[in-house]
């Protein structure tokens, strides 16, 4: 089937361009006056002051969650760094003093220049310890070194997580909850 195009057949007046040009000038002037005096159609967002809200599913800068006693939730199981397709997570583990908790990370570093924001790390995490729901996107820095987000920095955005620790799946706790949301304990 031939493609249907509805073309305007220009007549002499239209082709002379003069009338059309002045119609255009009138249109532009009307829009200018409306934006200046009347109803404003201006769509610009004054960025640093006004921000458009991100969706709740937006994957922003990573954060490490905390336990109720303000300690980091991460148990340095390396599942996130294993899952990471960009190899941007570096974890150094150490023994935890608390006998119930096996390990904790002494270093937890994410190279944000390497990160592709795929979200595999938060999916892999059995402890709800790493999340990307901070709503902060990565800001430019002057050096590459500054793009490596260390443990302290990640905790800076920290949220309290009260989901089940340890990764054991308890059906009655998780019933009806979505992935990524913390479950009330």
């Amino acid at each position: 089937m031939a493609k249907l195009t509805n073309r305007i057949q220009p007549d002499m007046i239209m082709q002379s361009y003069l009338v059309e040009a002045f119609k255009g000038v009138a249109l532009v002037t009307r829009q200018f006056a409306r934006n200046l005096f009347g109803r404003k159609d201006i769509v610009t967002v004054q960025y640093p002051e006004d921000r458009r809200p991100y969706t709740p599913r937006f994957r922003g800068k990573h954060l490490l969650t905390k336990r109720a006693d303000d300690q980091v939730r991460c148990v340095a199981c390396m599942l996130c760094s294993t899952a990471c397709p960009a190899n941007c997570i570096t974890i150094v583990a150490a023994e935890h003093q608390d006998k119930d908790i096996e390990k904790y990370p002494t270093t937890f570093e994410i190279d944000l220049l390497k990160c592709i924001y795929c979200g595999f790390c938060e999916e892999a995490c059995p402890c709800d310890a790493i999340r990307m729901d901070s709503g902060v996107h990565t800001l430019p820095t002057l050096t590459r070194r500054d793009q490596k987000s260390g443990k302290i920095d990640l905790l800076g955005l920290a949220k309290l997580s009260t989901s089940a620790q340890g990764g054991e799946f308890r059906a009655h706790d998780h019933a009806g909850t979505q992935h990524g949301q913390s479950t009330p304990h």
Partner: protein
Amino acid sequence: MPTTGNLILDTVLYTLVKFAGFVLVFAMGVATVLTWLERKYSAVLQNRIGPNRANFGKFRLGGLLHMIADPIKMLFKEDFTPDTPNPWMFRLAPFVAFVPALVVFSVIPFGPGEKMMVANTELGILFIFAIASLNVYGAVMGAWASNNKWSLMGGLRISAQMISYEVAIGLTLCGIFMIYGSTDLQDIVVQQGQLLWGMVPAWGIVTQPVAFVLYLACAIAENKRAPFDVAEAEAELTAGYWTEYSAMGFGLLAISEFVEVVLIGCLGATLFLGGWQIPGVHGDSVPLVALQIGAFLFKALFLIWLQMTIRWTLPRFRYDQVMRLGWRILLPLALVNLVGTGIVLTLIDRK
């Protein structure tokens, strides 16, 4: 009695003061404001906000300070010279483009009497043509000396375009000379104060309506601004003839474009909108003269606004369309207008 030497010195000083007042304060002032106004105006009519960030502490003044911030920024930027066999020509080009644009203001009558123009010369409009045509050398020199293919193509386009439209604009304005019988701009303005049929002011737009439209089209084309900005054509030629310019070299080329916008406004007001004439107002008392200067500025600003609006309304013509418009439409129309004016004038003379 003043000696001849003193007289010459006085004349020179007096002329310099007038030049500073009319050209540097008015023309450069308006051109500088235009650098901000153009961006702000285009932004508002396109549903944007436009420049509004430059500030003195809490005072933003709607971004008006950008016109100060921009030159400061340009002065401190790296002044890059490309690897070219003609660095001196590359450096010279912005000045060649900038100076003629300023000098032509000398013969524009800003108000009644000799005092209101820098140089009272009978050449008037011929002087403007002679000097304003030098402008093309600046752009072409810059384009050629940049040693850059985009610049070179931009330069070729400018030279073809400006020469084509120079012919059309010259023939267009011949109609004005024929009607007013003078090339002296002050003389033309004085004659525009008469009334036709006892009611309509004998402004150029009334006696030569076709010429006004042709003048506007040709003048915008000569100034190589949209919709005739094929020389710059950022979509095709990066930035055309000023691709390689940075810092104040770019600043000069850009401001000379705005100065020309002001010039086209002033010249159009002088030739077609009756200059400083206000219909029905005659006399030479001080408040009246001030009013007449105000009328001239208002008319010039109106034409500047019209140029700006046309620029932000119409898309760029293709290069072959620009050439066809110049040679096959505007030039024949200018010739027809000229012949028609001649026939009408002869018929009127016979009566």
